[in-house]
Symmetry: C2
Subunit: 394 residues, 2 copies
């Protein structure tokens, strides 16, 4: 099994230590699976203790043996119980006045437990710093994402083989899921935000495409029941239907997000025009992306173009349920930084990766647009997902 190279892990920890010093935080105590994987190359149960200076130590309760095999860190120790933790952290990092934790994901009841255990320290949130570090992908990470994009490509290429009138959405979904699993999709799509969930993504046809739900994105979908209210439903795909395939691939932990639109027949002129317009927005955003361009500027450009083109009402969704962004960072989680929204001003810089998804909805009928995972190579945005972008008639 591929493990993360030592250089990657060392770089990431060094950068985290830089952030800690900047914020005058004495030690970081990393607990969340995804962050543990990012900083250790393993996500076994335990804590990664990162002092602002000195060597990091991975304390593992289960499975120690596996963690040792997976991480290139040289300091990995057994943590038998929660009670031991304060003394172990003290031994590694000394007396900590400020202790950083991922308070955006750590449940409150656990926070109380840590606060009591570290009564002499102030617990502060280091999730903004971690999320900002993770916003920039290394060449190593980009290579993994390119492998994920190959799986996405093969999946999209297989659509004509599986997509038939008379099949239910869930049956068509199951066909694609089967294929991508055999190609190495890890299955689980992780999201960081509370209550956001995903299972592969959104695959819907006809009226179901604009079936709305809680999900923070332009589409939702009925799902199979109100208990998991998104994605494919029981609907039979009909001749003439537009079919949305917005399925996330996760390879070696990294998400690739790509959307294409299919049609069981010939799409209407209105839809073809909207699709052309969405592609134009997509290309203009890419052209406008220069080193240092604020993400907000790209979002403003997209929403402004859509409005001028006459899609103010239906660009990125409808009314109060509209998504307020035209792109979102992807990586180990599906909802990473940067978000391409009016309120987020991160300047474009090398290594940023996001899904750019200008989408135009047509209530109860269809959708136009694409989604590509793109990365900023230092001078411009490059597409990682390269499947043809036109609406594909089947």
């Amino acid at each position: 099994m591929e493990t993360t190279p030592k250089k990657e892990i060392d770089d990431r920890i060094r950068k985290l230590q830089g952030k800690l010093k900047e914020k005058e935080i004495d030690v970081a105590l990393i607990t969340q699976n995804v962050d543990l994987f990012y900083f250790t190359g393993s996500c076994q149960k335990g804590h990664l203790v990162v002092p602002a200076e000195g060597e990091a130590c991975y304390l593992v309760s289960k499975s120690l043996e596996r963690a040792k095999r997976e991480t290139p860190l040289s300091r990995v120790e057994y943590q038998q119980s929660f009670r031991q933790l304060p003394a172990m952290v003290h031994e590694i990092a000394g007396a900590a006045k400020k202790l950083g934790m991922e308070l955006d994901v750590l449940p409150t009841a656990l926070y109380f437990r840590y606060r009591e255990a570290f009564a002499g320290s102030e617990l502060v949130d280091i999730s903004p710093q971690i999320r900002e570090l993770r916003m920039f992908k290394s060449p190593y990470e980009i290579e993994i994402m390119k492998k994920g994009a190959e799986i996405s490509h093969k999946m999209l290429r297989s659509v004509p083989q599986f997509l038939k009138a008379g099949k239910r959405e869930i049956e068509f979904a199951a066909d694609l899921e089967h294929l991508v699993r055999t190609l190495g999709h890890q299955g689980a799509v992780r999201m960081r935000q509370y209550n956001q969930e995903a299972f592969y993504g959104h695959l819907m046809s006809g009226a179901n495409i604009t079936f709305s739900t809680f999900f923070d994105g332009p589409t939702g979908g009925p799902g199979l029941s109100p208990a998991f209210p998104q994605g494919p439903g029981w609907k039979e795909i009909q001749k003439g239907d537009i079919v949305l395939v917005d399925y996330v691939i996760v390879y070696n932990g990294y998400c690739i997000d790509c959307t294409r639109v299919f049609c069981l027949g010939t799409p209407s002129r209105t839809l073809l025009k909207a699709h052309e317009d969405a592609l134009l927005i997509h290309e203009e955003v890419i052209k406008a992306a220069k080193p240092g361009t604020p993400c907000s500027q790209l979002a403003d450009l997209a929403f402004k173009m859509a409005k001028e083109m006459g899609y103010e009402e239906n660009f990125m969704g409808y009314g109060s349920e509209k998504a307020r962004f035209v792109g979102h960072g992807v990586g180990l989680e599906l909802d990473e930084l940067p978000v391409l929204t009016a309120k987020q001003h991160y300047p474009l810089a090398e290594g940023m990766v996001f899904a750019l998804e200008p989408k135009i909805l047509f209530k109860d009928t269809a959708i136009a647009g694409v989604e590509n995972t793109v990365f900023f190579n230092g001078s411009n945005l490059e597409k990682i997902t390269l499947y043809p972008e036109e609406i594909i008639s089947i």
Copy 2:
């Protein structure tokens, strides 16, 4: 799409109000998707406000229209922003001295936000009360779980068709996943505990069966990479291999957990004996289960029997990585109450549902045992999963 009957929802809310009164909590503010679904029949984005007395109100920001269609609650209102929330809660429930929230899942950073917004109230944890309510399934819920069990049954029956030497674990897994999706598996398997994750479950062969990981259970599995370190891996299934199929089915939100063991050839005598012994433990636990029997007593019985049979070392895992339980509640989440462990004394009562999974591991080779989802019908434990329990040779 099936929606939850009004009587169910009314009963659940009435019982929650009973708990609130008992704890002198003025109002519950429910936020988590799964709990929202349980108490409203919908899990759209927002808050369910349950005053200790009076009518509950579901405040929804997205999608209001969908929430109204799905919930039988008569009071559903639009919540435009977080800022509006305190006034809306005040209007529904009056001045609240104590306000209950699900602090076991609510992230700390959000907790701070609520604490500030409800500065006049004390925020207390009502997750123990909610988890205890959800421990008891109604006949309506049991019926849904029985439908899930039928899908599980069909999946196990299909194993001989898909399980072949030379196939990779992930390929065999993809075959079963394809089948169960077309039968209505919602996909997502939810877990409540921080950092616990599942994707279908554990399906491994030969040496991979005892591949350990962070997961709180007797098995783990390699997964496809250290980024999601559990379940099927890339290993080719070999002639003679023991194959574990521990795949969760989720139908209309409810988990069914069932494990069976297969063999590509003839299992060893040692394994057959261990399997017989595990089945005996399973049957003795079922026999010992009477109204009021503490769950701890069932756990003690299982571990005691295993020890006497000579499996002290390898029952429910090895050494420090052993699972400390022999069963766990299942429902809308995979890790519900009751847990059959030495420390949990809930007395058996009508409606309790759990997965009973006595398992004996053989390092780097095999596993014996079964897992059934069972429910306490008021006088004894009844199996919901009914697939034949012997090791099936293929």
